[in-house]
């Protein structure tokens, strides 16, 4: 080993050690400050009693988890529906033939209107408005209309994300596919969409996490899901701890989801990519 490469090695090792040291020290300082300083706040005792009551937590937690199951069900129903509707809207917006103008116009209006209205307003409008049409009992179920609202609102967002993904695939990919004799439909299905979806996984995960939280808005029109259950428990115990418990339950779902998506993306990059730049 030459003198130069030895010196480089020593230099890089010292730099690594330095950055590990900085990271560790700053983490310890921040955590310690939180543990020491927060309880010193004048209202801390009151906050601890009304937000972090262990007994209330233990008593309400199982009920909240059970109520959360409704959120999960709404989520599981709406996610695939959102993807399908969004994909159709995105494809409709991408049509070029003049004969399909009405379809394209509908897609534009759909995204503009539904993205422009706050989800909470849509929940009220659809959740109270549609059942008022005098539907039969089965169709008057607020869970159904809550889900429909989420699908409408989120599919408008996701359609735009998918459209951006489609546009990001370079024209030359289409040229290559078409020159093999693929139809425009085959080109879209086998060449463009697979690449588009790989690129939009991060924004899609972002929407998915947001959706997990917005499911709670369905509680505004009646169903006893976790947020409403937490509200009921809060009133019963005159204590805010159920809200903290609900927040923890949400985190238990959303954090693993994001990590999973990051992991899947990294694996994809490792498999298909050249070397990554540090």
């Amino acid at each position: 080993m030459t003198d130069r490469s030895t010196r480089r090695e020593i230099y890089e090792r010292s730099r690594r050690r330095r950055s590990i040291f900085i990271a560790t020290t700053s983490t310890i300082v921040v955590v310690a400050a939180m543990i020491v300083l927060v309880p010193m706040a004048p209202g801390w005792d009151r906050v601890r009693q009304s937000f972090f009551d262990g007994d209330v937590f233990a008593e309400t937690f199982p009920g909240l988890v059970e109520a959360f199951w409704l959120d999960v069900r709404i989520l599981l129903w709406s996610t695939p529906l959102i993807l399908v509707v969004a994909l159709l809207v995105a494809l409709a917006r991408n049509t070029r033939s003049p004969a399909l103008f009405p379809l394209r116009a509908f897609a534009i209006i759909y995204t503009d209107v539904l993205r422009g209205i706050p989800v909470i307003l849509l929940v009220f409008l659809i959740g109270f408005g549609v059942p008022a049409l005098g539907l039969s009992r089965t169709w008057a179920n607020p869970v159904i209309w809550g889900t429909v609202t989420l699908v409408l609102s989120y599919s408008a967002y996701v359609a735009e994300v998918i459209r951006a993904g489609i546009d990001s695939v370079h024209e030359s990919q289409r040229a290559a596919a078409r020159s093999l004799g693929m139809t425009s439909r085959q080109t879209m299905g086998t060449i463009v969409l697979p690449q588009a979806f790989r690129r939009i996984v991060p924004p899609l995960m972002n929407s998915f996490v947001s959706l997990q939280k917005d499911v709670a808005l369905v509680s505004l029109i009646g169903p006893v899901e976790i947020l409403r259950q937490a509200g009921i428990d809060k009133a019963k115990f005159a204590n805010f701890t159920p809200y903290v418990a609900a927040a923890i339950i949400f985190l238990a779902i959303t954090i693993p989801c994001t990590r999973l998506a990051d992991w899947a993306l990294a694996r994809q990059r490792r498999r298909t990519g050249a070397t990554t730049i540090a």
Partner: protein, 250 residues
């Protein structure tokens, strides 16, 4: 082999907005011919190839493939493109598919060949082009020369009757050009009809049956390579070739 030309262009015009790119192109390509298109950037070489493959609609004129006018408005382009292979300057491999799948996807989707059969045939082609050991790699993991050979394999998998080559070595490092050109020599030996836009003058001279010099959307001069490269009659051809020599490219 019939007397009918494989490809025939008759007064082909193409403009992008106000810019005329092809200004009345006439060209005869017999079966088994290798025709090179030379000329400065912007002279219309690439557009000409893209028009023959119907990737760009022409504004006026006729393009015949085996005597059938394929530029007829309203004609379904997909069955025609199937018969014409195209290789691009920037390879345009599908980055989300392995090398084998890149080669197999055309036959699978377009010709309805089964997945296993398409992969088997693809692997055979890759072996022929010296790429068998990269069959499971992804495009981004290959060198430029390897990527371009995969692109050629992908095109050959469709058994094209004609190949359009659009400056296929321009994006390659000089030491990688040879491996791609070897493949083209091989194709010529097998009688492939080729239209080849290129800046590789030495290679154009070696492989062409005829060379066309394009200037501002017209074929200014056309003839056997010896004539074009040694005694061009057009002053603008002379000037172009002089610039190429001055740049050390010939």
């Amino acid at each position: 082999m019939s007397d009918q030309p494989k490809i025939l262009l008759r007064s082909v015009f193409k403009a992008f907005g106000d810019t005329t790119v092809l200004d009345g192109i006439d060209l005869d390509v017999a079966e088994g011919d290798v025709i090179t298109l030379i000329g400065a950037s912007g002279s219309g070489k690439s557009t000409l190839l893209r028009c023959v493959n119907l990737l760009e609609p022409i504004d006026d004129g006729e393009i015949f493939l085996d005597g059938v006018d394929i530029a007829e408005p309203g004609l379904d382009p997909d069955p025609i493109r199937r018969r014409i292979g195209m290789i691009f300057q920037s390879f345009n491999l599908f980055p989300h598919m392995s090398v084998t799948d890149n080669v197999a996807v055309g036959p699978r989707k377009v010709l309805g060949v089964s997945k296993s059969e398409a992969r088997r045939a693809g692997l055979e082609l890759l072996t022929r082009l010296g790429l068998a050991d990269r069959a499971d790699a992804y495009p981004d993991q290959l060198s430029g020369g390897q990527q371009q050979r995969v692109a050629i394999a992908r095109s050959l998998a469709m058994n094209p009757e004609v190949m359009l080559l659009d400056e296929i070595t321009s994006a390659l490092d000089p030491e990688l050009v040879g491996e791609v050109l070897d493949v083209i020599r091989d194709l010529k030996r097998n009688g492939m009809t080729m239209l080849f836009a290129t800046h590789e003058m030495a290679f154009a001279r070696e492989i062409s049956d005829r060379v066309c010099f394009l200037h501002r959307g017209r074929i200014l001069e056309e003839g056997p390579p010896a004539q074009i490269f040694e005694s061009p009659s057009e002053p603008r051809t002379q000037a172009f070739l002089q610039r190429v020599i001055d740049a050390g490219r010939m």
